[in-house]
Symmetry: C2
Subunit: 87 residues, 2 copies
């Protein structure tokens, strides 16, 4: 399935979260990631994220769509993923 | 159509962008918004966003899905929208 994940983490956990996300998904903007994952992969991602997160402070929103073609994406302004040497 | 919008703006433009987004969509996390918009509304939103943005620094990613039911959302951790008195 197609996944968009957006996290908001306390500073201490940002680096860990970023690292986790990059193992499963493609970074597209700040704390926004997208990619194709199987059900099992998504489950693993959520379990690993829960281990990093402080549930009273941090938040992770995951949108899923069964098919990528059901979702259109448009980028206005700078396409960060193309220009930044992030990490 | 169903819209998810995520922006990344220079500090000087964040407040304006936030205000614009809130006129069209529902705030769900940091710089993430969602909601149901008509094609005309989405067009207006993009035009107004382009007026605020510095295209070489800022970025706005817009995901659209023709039907909300094609998209599932799950929130792990804190559901900010329910607890914060934002703005």
């Amino acid at each position: 399935m197609y996944v968009i994940a957006v996290y908001d983490c306390g500073e201490k956990r940002v680096a860990k979260m970023l690292k986790l996300m990059r193992r499963y998904l493609i970074w597209i903007q700040n704390s926004v990631f997208e990619g194709e994952l199987s059900g099992v992969q998504l489950k693993k991602l959520k379990i690993e994220a829960a281990e990093i997160m402080n549930p009273s402070e941090d938040s992770l929103i995951i949108f899923t769509s069964r098919q990528e073609r059901w979702l259109d994406k448009e980028v206005l302004g700078r396409e960060k993923n193309k220009t930044d040497n992030f990490l």
